[in-house]
Symmetry: C2
Subunit: 384 residues, 2 copies
């Protein structure tokens, strides 16, 4: 029950049809990604840097890597990390079966780290990319469609970056801490990630930039403009691009991840007529909730029904007499073997001798378990 | 189990010692608040405007109002809402016993709404305030200490506003959608709420400003500067000041609210020696978790033990034989009467004939219930 979720699963729900939207056949040049993930996460106030914080047994950085791995035309993902995190990162790559990742050691500032990542793409076994995408280890929700737009604009214009409208007004301050003036929100944008560059543009920008840029700079688009004369094309991205910065952002990220998971329910009713009647009543009660997508009833997971294990559903066993512990364990073991329990943990067992009274309550509990993804309750026997 | 939480409860945990920090004795002039809450919340993508979204059975706007009501030197809170929401707001004021609120109807833009709120403070029964604080219905986490600083700076300087560092680089765009230049993050700040004004300054600013300001403007500090020549004092606020804007922010707000709730546990063990031994084992197991603050064991909620009901604790009953349903109901009814179940819903009943094997599991479940505040499981019988 503690194992990692199937890395392929989350992808499918979110990516959408890559051929239609992103037209991957058009990307006929090599594209690589540099993913700085060396931050200490001091703004979250937590001990663990935020890229290594875990949601549903999977660290944030792995979700971000996955978002790029699912894009067929991205060849290489260079993850730039601090020396201390090397072992941890190696373990994550192994556990979540990341296939396109190369790990590169970071520098003392953000720009030094990105520069190391860019240079690594000019050495060693991989072929030098035409376009390099620079992103952030702590922005896990990037879609193929936007990556495609950024990549194509970078190829044509030399540089491209995602932007978002400003949420707050931006103001200039005097040195004494008073308002100097406020900016017209319509003329300014927040610069977000991903950004894309012709490899030669970003490589040259880092060759030419100053120590002060390396030390205090934050904006890659600015370096491309200042040192290569390249005005980046700006592309409006969706709100989910935001960067996990504060502790509250971890809760926000977790809720987005949970929402991408299946809300369909498979009720295992056993052979008894009474339990099947309970399952039918549940099906009716849950149909009236927006929350549940689909609901199916099966007697068990044997024979032909075992194929249900390949569906991304939440499994609930109901029983009208005390279920034998070995039956419950058998179901959980089957789900574990199919790597279902971690992402879809609403496996509970409901013993309901007088079930007519408790359909409403069981409906409420199943909905709450699917919403909260409370792994602690997997396999728990609840009694009406 | 569906009733609202005690409005006083959340306050106490969060406010801190008001005398020491904020020195309320120093605020010897009338202060009022204008709280625009007429937004449609279209950026969340939800049907309910975000100020009316509910966390733990209480709408967001009520948390925000509460944050001001707990401050003794704030006399009046003018909540500005759209006509459609009048009944809903009246109901919220009644249910959560808000005592300082006046409801005023909003205008067609943010500035028109705030202006209505400011003007309402110059009419009717309340005395005209010296300083008016302008905040946002969807920023529920404002502390007395910051309100005090803003108020005093507004009294001395005429205007004051909370600021935060920029999270993203801000860039200027060309009309063709290319990067023009990026701003030096060190010189700019995000303008946040609350803001404070001498009443006469903000009143005059709204008298003098143009239709275009009313229509397109967003920044009150800007109006005070342009129309009254008042340069606002800027005061750095904490990260929790952020504005609930997108759907993900709702999850973030909920997690912050949950964190302010008590994590102490009161185990009701009944009279039996076996159940008391289980409770002792649980106490040991939970002591090793950071999660739980304190843990106490009592036999029941009768007599002297009934005083436990006045503590903000999470109650768990354990039993080593099938508990009688009437006992469980009696406990839940006692907690409901003391308005405990909504905010501290980890009331579950654990029947554990062979409990030695299940201490670890019970510890895990109790921790998860306290963390998730899953109201659906209140009073649920779980079986080892």
């Amino acid at each position: 029950m503690e194992g990692p979720g199937n890395p392929g699963r989350f992808v499918t729900t979110e990516a959408g049809p890559s051929d239609d939207k992103a037209g991957n056949s058009c990307v006929d040049f090599p594209v690589a990604v540099v993913l700085p993930a060396g931050g200490t996460g001091e703004r979250t106030g937590l001990q663990t840097p935020k890229q290594f914080c875990t949601f549903l047994n999977r660290p944030l950085i792995s979700y971000t890597i996955q978002a790029f791995e699912r894009v067929p035309w991205i060849e290489t993902i260079v993850v730039v990390i601090s020396e201390e995190s090397t072992d941890l990162m190696t373990d994550i790559i192994y556990r979540f079966q990341h296939r396109k990742v190369r790990v590169v050691q970071g520098g003392s500032t953000r720009h030094r780290s990105i520069c190391n990542g860019v240079q690594a793409l000019n050495q060693g076994p991989v072929r030098k990319p035409k376009v390099v995408i620079i992103h952030d280890g702590v922005r896990p929700f990037v879609e193929e469609e936007l990556l495609y737009k950024i990549t194509m604009a970078a190829k044509e214009q030399g540089a491209a970056g995602a932007i978002r409208p400003l949420v707050s007004t931006v103001i200039a301050t005097t040195s004494e801490g008073f308002l100097d003036h406020s900016l017209d929100r319509a003329k300014y944008r927040a610069s977000e990630m991903p950004q894309g560059f012709l490899y030669d543009v970003i490589y040259q920008a880092y060759q030419r930039c100053s120590e002060s840029d390396f030390e205090f700079g934050t904006e890659c688009l600015h370096l491309a403009l200042q040192y290569c004369g390249t005005n980046a094309k700006l592309i409006e991205g969706p709100p989910t691009l935001w960067k996990v910065t504060y502790k509250r952002d971890l809760a926000a990220a977790e809720s987005i991840i949970k929402e991408t998971l299946s809300r369909s329910v498979c009720i295992i009713a056993g052979g008894s007529a009474q339990a099947t009647a309970l399952a039918d009543a549940l099906q009716q009660a849950m149909a009236s909730l927006d929350m549940v997508q689909e609901l199916d009833i099966i007697p068990d997971l044997m024979g032909d029904n075992a194929r249900c294990l390949s569906r991304d559903w939440n499994f609930v066993q109901v029983s009208v007499s005390s279920p034998r512990p070995c039956e419950v364990e058998a179901i959980i073991r089957a789900l574990e073997a199919a790597e279902r329990t971690v992402l879809h943990p609403a496996v509970l067992v409901w013993e309901a001798a007088s079930w007519e009274r408790s359909v409403g309550r069981l409906t409420e509990i199943i909905s709450a378990l699917i919403r909260d993804r409370s792994t602690a309750l997997v396999g728990q026997l609840l009694q009406a």
